[in-house]
Symmetry: C2
Subunit: 350 residues, 2 copies
Amino acid sequence: HKIALLPGDGIGPEIVPQAVRVLEAVGKKFNLEFQFETALIGGAAYDATGHPLPEATLELCRRSDAILLGAVGGPKWDNLEPDLRPERGALLPLRKELGLYANLRPAAVNPALASASTLKEEIVSGLDIMIIRELTGGLYFGQKHREELPGGGQKAVETLEYSTGEIERVARLGFEMARKRNKRLMSVDKANVLESSRLWREVVQELAKEYPDVELNHMYVDNCAMQLVRNPKQFDVMVTENMFGDILTDLASQLTGSIGMLPSASIGGEVALYEPIHGSAPDIAGKNLANPIATILSAAMMLRVSFGLEEPAASIEGAVAKVLEQGYRTGDIMQPGQKQLGTVEMTEAI
Amino acid sequence: HKIALLPGDGIGPEIVPQAVRVLEAVGKKFNLEFQFETALIGGAAYDATGHPLPEATLELCRRSDAILLGAVGGPKWDNLEPDLRPERGALLPLRKELGLYANLRPAAVNPALASASTLKEEIVSGLDIMIIRELTGGLYFGQKHREELPGGGQKAVETLEYSTGEIERVARLGFEMARKRNKRLMSVDKANVLESSRLWREVVQELAKEYPDVELNHMYVDNCAMQLVRNPKQFDVMVTENMFGDILTDLASQLTGSIGMLPSASIGGEVALYEPIHGSAPDIAGKNLANPIATILSAAMMLRVSFGLEEPAASIEGAVAKVLEQGYRTGDIMQPGQKQLGTVEMTEAI
Ligand SMILES: CC(C)[C@H](C(=O)O)[C@@H](O)C(=O)O
Ligand SMILES: CC(C)[C@H](C(=O)O)[C@@H](O)C(=O)O
């Protein structure tokens, strides 16, 4: 399996190698061979080549079987023009170019860490939801322009567009995922206000006929934000459009209280991309303080989703759970009475 | 003071009269005269006249000094065509027609109710934030259409528009409100992706020069959703565009654990509108079970914001706090060992 490594910025170059070590260990155990090749992305790529997403990086991604990304961005590149900034100049085009139309974001609470949440333990313990966010449509990729107004001032105009096909393919993933889990799908929209949401709902409802075994429900996005706080365990699989998904996935992650633990997958095209959901954390970069677990669990997700290697994936997840049970923690999830480890040492324990 | 009463649907016709009783009591105490006139809105108006926002209702609003709304909507009207549904056919046009461009949504935790939140008590006790949501622009009032696609299927297209003037007037309210409170304003946008957010940020930054005493910060909406869960007390006044505000205000309300307590004001035009943030709760309508406090506190907000009557407003708020301290509760906020009251009895206690 050829894996493209895109460490990126901040703690990215620290955590990606840790996931590689875990993949190598699991490779030995299960007799699998991984080939790794590294490329630049984000601020690091901008510094070296003048662009946050060099052609060579895209090319490597295209001829790999899967991609493991660290994180991009940092204050150093915040004042570049928007299209050269790591987030907008690299992440968004990467998603579009590779056709990664669905972002899979599990928000699950590890039993050892339920008390780390700002929510009461009984509200979040055992939480296990999967949010599927549409990733290559909507406001993110609409037309955008400015107009000068006759009386002075300006007007910004941008479009939110969705087609039947764009909605259907991501909704289908939602139904398939629900089938593999608890057979409940919540589609989130704002159909009482948005035309694109009305089309979204129509398409999802039509598709539901193919999945009579899945219980489909619809919820408005504002109510959904409330319900995630009120009673998150009511959800199983959720599917929503790009901008709502951006907000709701971050909200859901925070419910777990330990975003340093959460992996993600972006799928849909020929090759899928895996990354921790946390950012590049420039403040702790280079200090052996970063939590490598989200990246390690992203590698496990890669094994399961891209390579169909269920047992090796479960073996990584089991190792992570065990190490946490044994009381090992990185700084971000440290609790009284537990043993604090650095990035490298946590990986060794796993 | 001429007050238009729009009870609406569900529990609306139960709670609005309770707020009227409180206003009459406070009128007696402070020697104020209120004139009340009632009109139909929402499903009740549709049933009686064929439209959820009859001309007579708009006309009453225009010649009143303030409006007190209960709630609109219910399953009975959910299958009408969108423009006749209570929410879209009455609420949105009412906002637009009356020029109510700013929605003020306090999310404050009453000390007696801090334990009702799903968040840990130390995270929310003492919480007191004010969110200002732009209410007559953005995706809500953009152009919307459908296209048939050549290969089959459809495309929905809608626009998100904001002008300098629309942003400036609501941002100004944010700065003014921050000045009256703790002098900190958080502007929430998605400037790393949206053109309208970039204009938003430019306009807010420019306006900040007039308010050197207010500390202005910017936050992306996805991060803001996380921060509201992680540490909501970091915020004082927040200002954001219509759709983000729809999501964030509901999220913030839920943090308090008692949305039956939260009032709101929609201001900007000649006359302002006050309403509880909760819905019409058709399931408990007509049973003397509804919590009238959000509506009563909306009336207090009216006294303060529309009429400048600080002392009478504070007197209502004080009465509510005292009744809660004494252990009186409606069903929605009932806690072990407290005394449960009905809608009417709770109002009497207040
Ligand atoms: C950095 C930003 C453009 C990006 C997004 O909004 O998609 C990020 O928030 C994410 O969720 O991956
Ligand atoms: C009912 C709906 C159209 C409305 C909105 O989205 O503005 C509601 O959610 C609100 O916040 O007042």
